[in-house]
Symmetry: C2
Subunit: 152 residues, 2 copies
């Protein structure tokens, strides 16, 4: 059968689904859901208050409560009361959550490397640069950690 031709919208939407499926599959292989895996990524760098978590993940307060409840039940995160404000809780990773998040990210990274293995280095770097600029300019959710700005 003839290979289909994809315009930019089709390419981006289908690529989005492909990457999303890789994340979901990798999460399932770690015994967690895609949402829990995202939570672990968001918490990777430092503890975050519940309200801020909801903002970062673009979900409501009640959804945040449920997601953190289930992650806590699974032993992946803990809630600590903020000493300065007893209304507020800080959510942080347990050792188990940190380790699982690490191996999850390694698995996703490996699968993405396989996905783009046939893309020449120059095109891959352009893909990286263009998508980076697009997600930064459009305030994409930070559901995968970034590195600090590196020297040129």
């Amino acid at each position: 059968m003839a290979e289909p031709w994809l315009d930019i919208t089709a390419a981006l939407v289908r690529a989005s689904g492909l990457v999303s499926d890789i994340c979901a599959k990798s999460a399932a292989e770690h015994g967690v859901t895609a949402q829990q895996a995202q939570l672990l990524c968001v918490l990777e760098q430092h503890p975050v208050a519940m309200a801020e978590l909801g903002v970062l993940m673009r979900i409501t307060k009640s959804s945040t409560t449920g997601l953190v409840d289930r992650a806590q039940d699974a032993g992946l995160v803990v809630r600590d009361t903020d000493a300065d404000d007893r209304r507020s809780h800080l959510v942080s990773l347990t050792e188990r959550g940190r380790q699982l998040g690490g191996t999850y990210r390694a698995m996703v990274t490996g699968r993405i490397a396989t996905l783009i293995a046939d893309v020449p280095d120059a095109e891959r770097e352009l893909l990286r640069a263009v998508l980076s600029q697009v997600v930064i300019s459009n305030q994409a959710r930070a559901t995968w950690p970034a590195e600090p700005e590196r020297a040129a």
Copy 2:
């Protein structure tokens, strides 16, 4: 604050989330869910049997039944018995489903055009070509229609 540096995995995962959010928001503005919008896209070209729908959308038979039930209740699709095999149903779009699917895709297309408005044409074409090749090579779910192969 310093702009973060994203490697290829971070860029792809965050871009995936961004595009997914555009689809979800556009679907909600049409009064449907993201899954229902995907269903309308899959059915856009021709009616599909239930079993094949599940395969195309990468969901189980029971999930397919539920999704089609809710879309049928919303007046977006109909089921027809296959004359050759009375076990089988073909699912097709209603006029309302076809129209809603069309305006949904136009809305997503417009938002994606805005997303990449600042990307130079040459880079945009390379992005399109690279992502197209990646999604075709990796059998991404066809949750957005393609055009038939066009003459060079």
